[in-house]
Subunit: 247 residues, 6 copies
Amino acid sequence: MTDTADTFVLDPALRAMLMEASSATVSIQLLKRGLRFAAIGGVRPLNPLACRFVGPAYTLRFIPAREDLATPASIAQGDNPQRVAIEAIPPDAVLVIDAQRETRAGTLGDILVARLIARGVAGVVSDGAMRDIGELEKMPLPIFCNGVAAPPSFNFLLPVDIGRPIGCGGAAVFPGDIVVADSGGVVVIPRHLAAEVARDSVEQERLEVFIRRRVDRGHATPGLYPANDETRAAYQRWVAAGRPDEV
Amino acid sequence: MTDTADTFVLDPALRAMLMEASSATVSIQLLKRGLRFAAIGGVRPLNPLACRFVGPAYTLRFIPAREDLATPASIAQGDNPQRVAIEAIPPDAVLVIDAQRETRAGTLGDILVARLIARGVAGVVSDGAMRDIGELEKMPLPIFCNGVAAPPSFNFLLPVDIGRPIGCGGAAVFPGDIVVADSGGVVVIPRHLAAEVARDSVEQERLEVFIRRRVDRGHATPGLYPANDETRAAYQRWVAAGRPDEV
Amino acid sequence: MTDTADTFVLDPALRAMLMEASSATVSIQLLKRGLRFAAIGGVRPLNPLACRFVGPAYTLRFIPAREDLATPASIAQGDNPQRVAIEAIPPDAVLVIDAQRETRAGTLGDILVARLIARGVAGVVSDGAMRDIGELEKMPLPIFCNGVAAPPSFNFLLPVDIGRPIGCGGAAVFPGDIVVADSGGVVVIPRHLAAEVARDSVEQERLEVFIRRRVDRGHATPGLYPANDETRAAYQRWVAAGRPDEV
Amino acid sequence: MTDTADTFVLDPALRAMLMEASSATVSIQLLKRGLRFAAIGGVRPLNPLACRFVGPAYTLRFIPAREDLATPASIAQGDNPQRVAIEAIPPDAVLVIDAQRETRAGTLGDILVARLIARGVAGVVSDGAMRDIGELEKMPLPIFCNGVAAPPSFNFLLPVDIGRPIGCGGAAVFPGDIVVADSGGVVVIPRHLAAEVARDSVEQERLEVFIRRRVDRGHATPGLYPANDETRAAYQRWVAAGRPDEV
Amino acid sequence: MTDTADTFVLDPALRAMLMEASSATVSIQLLKRGLRFAAIGGVRPLNPLACRFVGPAYTLRFIPAREDLATPASIAQGDNPQRVAIEAIPPDAVLVIDAQRETRAGTLGDILVARLIARGVAGVVSDGAMRDIGELEKMPLPIFCNGVAAPPSFNFLLPVDIGRPIGCGGAAVFPGDIVVADSGGVVVIPRHLAAEVARDSVEQERLEVFIRRRVDRGHATPGLYPANDETRAAYQRWVAAGRPDEV
Amino acid sequence: MTDTADTFVLDPALRAMLMEASSATVSIQLLKRGLRFAAIGGVRPLNPLACRFVGPAYTLRFIPAREDLATPASIAQGDNPQRVAIEAIPPDAVLVIDAQRETRAGTLGDILVARLIARGVAGVVSDGAMRDIGELEKMPLPIFCNGVAAPPSFNFLLPVDIGRPIGCGGAAVFPGDIVVADSGGVVVIPRHLAAEVARDSVEQERLEVFIRRRVDRGHATPGLYPANDETRAAYQRWVAAGRPDEV
């Protein structure tokens, strides 16, 4: 579980492939590999029209607040893990927050999100809530969260770790796992499976374009979805023909 | 509980009347007949601007997944109840899904919804989640569900029945019951009550137009809402006068 | 806890100051005074674009329905607390409803909301649901609630009190407490703290404008947010300079 | 809803009849009268072997704590409703507590329970938790609650009312309603129905003794349970014969 | 899914083997075969001292009540599925009830349980509640349930099916699946896996006796639990030696 | 947060004092110091008659399972944190487990508990479930947990950390914090407050013995509980007199 220099580096070609794959498709590919718990549950995008991202997970973990530690003064301390995370997360990484599904306090507000934007992160996923939602909805950083709350994180939460494996919305997240997010949800690909899942997801997306077009033209689903041998042959011909409009 | 040829036929005049009645009004009429459990709880429309429908319920039931049965291969089997339902549901019927309120897996995705559109169904209600939400929100079929999830239904669910009575969002739904949906919610009218509920709902809607106009003009609610004898007399005169703008 | 003539009067200057303070900022000020339970949880605005208000709380309390009392006829009775509240709430007050977080029945519908608009109330907060949501979303009254339901309140709820302390979404609300609402949530300021919280909130908002601008210009957060002495000095100079664009 | 001198007086003969009726039987009688919401949900007896009681409800209501009011000092104030209730509840009444189902703080501890015993109350029902459970389990007062918690009530709760209608475990409870408790649960009989429910419950209990004996002797349930005319005739003969062992 | 004459027959030798296997051990064997969802969640034995049973599942399914159908009169109807199940369940089978986790109404009471005892069933598992708990705790039939409730099933539930696959406490249950219950919980073995799971469970139990004895004698767990090759060899010698007290 | 050699050492005199203080009393003392979140919620003792302990917390943290890591083979790996914790926890310490309130899998079973007994730990607190409950209830180690489950921890959980701050049942727990448990619950004292909380708790217990005796003798609570000056003077005289039976 030790982070290395490469933990938060994602090959651009791999990122590009995954940017073509929906969270729904990636889920199927993970399920085919025996992984049923890979989706982060309960989170929704603040801005559904700007919620697409792919990147390696950088983790921040909260526990319930203890009143003598979770104080307004605590956030001024240089070793506060929340504040360290904001300045230490690498560009293009995804900040994934284990807030223990606490929705009565916001894990980030507009100032910290503005800083994350300045620092070039790819997105944020929190199984807790967000503050200053009116501001956040206007900002370009894709954020998935589990609710909205006026109070600050230290009202009910205390940050204790960065860079450790966490639970987020029912899914295990290790630093460097690849997070894929779109309006359909957020899924986490274990780092070692990212390349093969990306490859197969792209292929599945392509096949589903073919299937969807046939359905839109009135084909029934038996034999088509899922595809039987005959459909797969037709699909191969369609690909060979340059994927024309006609299916 | 046996389905007959008529189970999924809804008289067009009755449908037309119910299309004038809000789910809120129908709820009142059912409550007056002693039915307090008729609303499907927890569901919201994917597209609030296109969520109005009325139609007979066609039921599909899921149970929790068993991993040796709920596999990617299972959906290719000809007798998979989910897939049978998609091809067997009559036009103008409403697909009502008992997903046991499981929101970690999507009960339908864009391809199956595209097929339902091709087959002419009136709407979908699921007490589980939906997949491919970005696509679904752009499609014309009204869908009510309880959340959004990337994984497919067989990640956590197994379809086992069509055409049986189900629970959906806390309400009992029998095949052929009349489902009335709008942005205010989804209610289920027992088949044998549909005609009288429709009739009284239309009348109630008309009275509430009168009341609302008076309220908008500054009338206080005592005696007006609910209407006392005097208000009812004024309402009758207003109806007799052709329901003029002036109330 | 006895209401006096002044309970629902809010000084216009105080209201104006609080209209400049976000719910997030007020939460911080309350936390600094030891109050961590002041936010009303679980509620969202029906119309996020028109949800800003400040006003004294006027309370209405429901308990679970008893079928012989919670009937269609009961709302015609002159002493029904829900109906009394609608006609008795003072202008510019906020109707705060303890619905015991029951979301299967709507605590208000379009006709009663229309009447509240006519009567000049500032807003509504209910930890239960609302009816006729399609209508309500088009109406100008800011409403926060915990869900949407077709059935009327008396389907599952019975109104029993006005003007008593209540719980709403996990927060204590006393008549006359000051409710501050915006898209980020709803918080309740104990009456006796309203003036000092308003004063300090305005100051905090001003400082955060300065901080946010610096962050947007690429400043790192350590020393800036929260502000250390150096930042505070720079902020004072900025204020003295008339708060120019340059920070 | 105004309490009169008679609110908490229960006719001894009526109490004696209800002490023969189980909570299960009373539930059936209430359901026959259209009341489905009369059981207090989620509560269990601390001592299942000593949990039987019948008595009129005396109500105490809590709301969520506000830290400046819910302090250790607050319980020394003479008008603290929790403390007033302990000294004001009449003998033979049942203390019914609306704790908003908060189980993280105890609504009573051993000292207050000892005082309730000294004051002769019939029982306690709280939809919150209890403290000092080790002590309470040894004390003779029947107590139903929803959990166990070390912190005192004022950790998370604030008492605000006595003698008002409350919700308790999902049921409406009015002062003076008759509470019937045994190991099977707690049900609330509206005051005006107590006499007829008692009468019919006693009769139902008697019939069920007859039915149970027949079942124990190997009779099948059709026609026996529920009883058809033939079974009812046999039951009448059995009653006329002095309810012999033989059925 | 069609029941045959053999569906509810369990080979006595197989039953005997499984009576030696704990629910915990069976869970491990199912997990080794990829089944993680086989335990029925949330249920506890009414009588922990008499809760051990093994038998084929006989299923009963409830949906939410509809007030015009779920009436006191409904249970007198000859085709009421709850009542049919009571008289039709084969001896030595286990009645498994899908009550949709509704705990506000009891799925069985003492009279029906007395009849199940007379009919020789092996046990009952319900993900709902039970009535007349005081009586039931004294009766010899092992019952697992999710709570206690005074009201009868038809207060909130309506029986609709027997002999169909159901969900119970989050697990899929098919008629004829083998249910294994003890104080540690209830697990469901798919019929086709019962023989091999029984065989391997017995072996695992035996190994764990050896391991537990070593732990009780002070051995550390590394290499012992789980057993490495050396431990397995020692275990084999212990078995060959007739499993002496000395380990 | 770094553990030192002293982290898990508890002064015997301090332990002895805290063994005289109930969890309820400690909660009051923490609340007086501003700590309202110190109780571990939702946990109950497996054996209420043997559940008293005091000791420093040794923490183990789980996250949701990932199927390729949470396998039967994983527990044989030498660095599995659950297994490391079992062998590394110091004598007289308390194993406190953050299981994310997951109750569908057991965090410990009888073999690991037997090993903890051999290693001399003081107690176990898990906000998850336990396995082999029949065995555990007979074993002398005090265990608090949130449920019972047949499946092993790796069915739904993956251990990832020892010795880090965790959340357990809603409370923050740091390694070395002092855990106080009895039948009334489990509370966590921050290490730096242990001595003063112990001292004041012992004094409070003593005063409450005096108060309880007076209540048992028929004294009313006003002025007695909480104690006013007069009561405190009487208490001091009683202490000076050697705490006689007479109060």
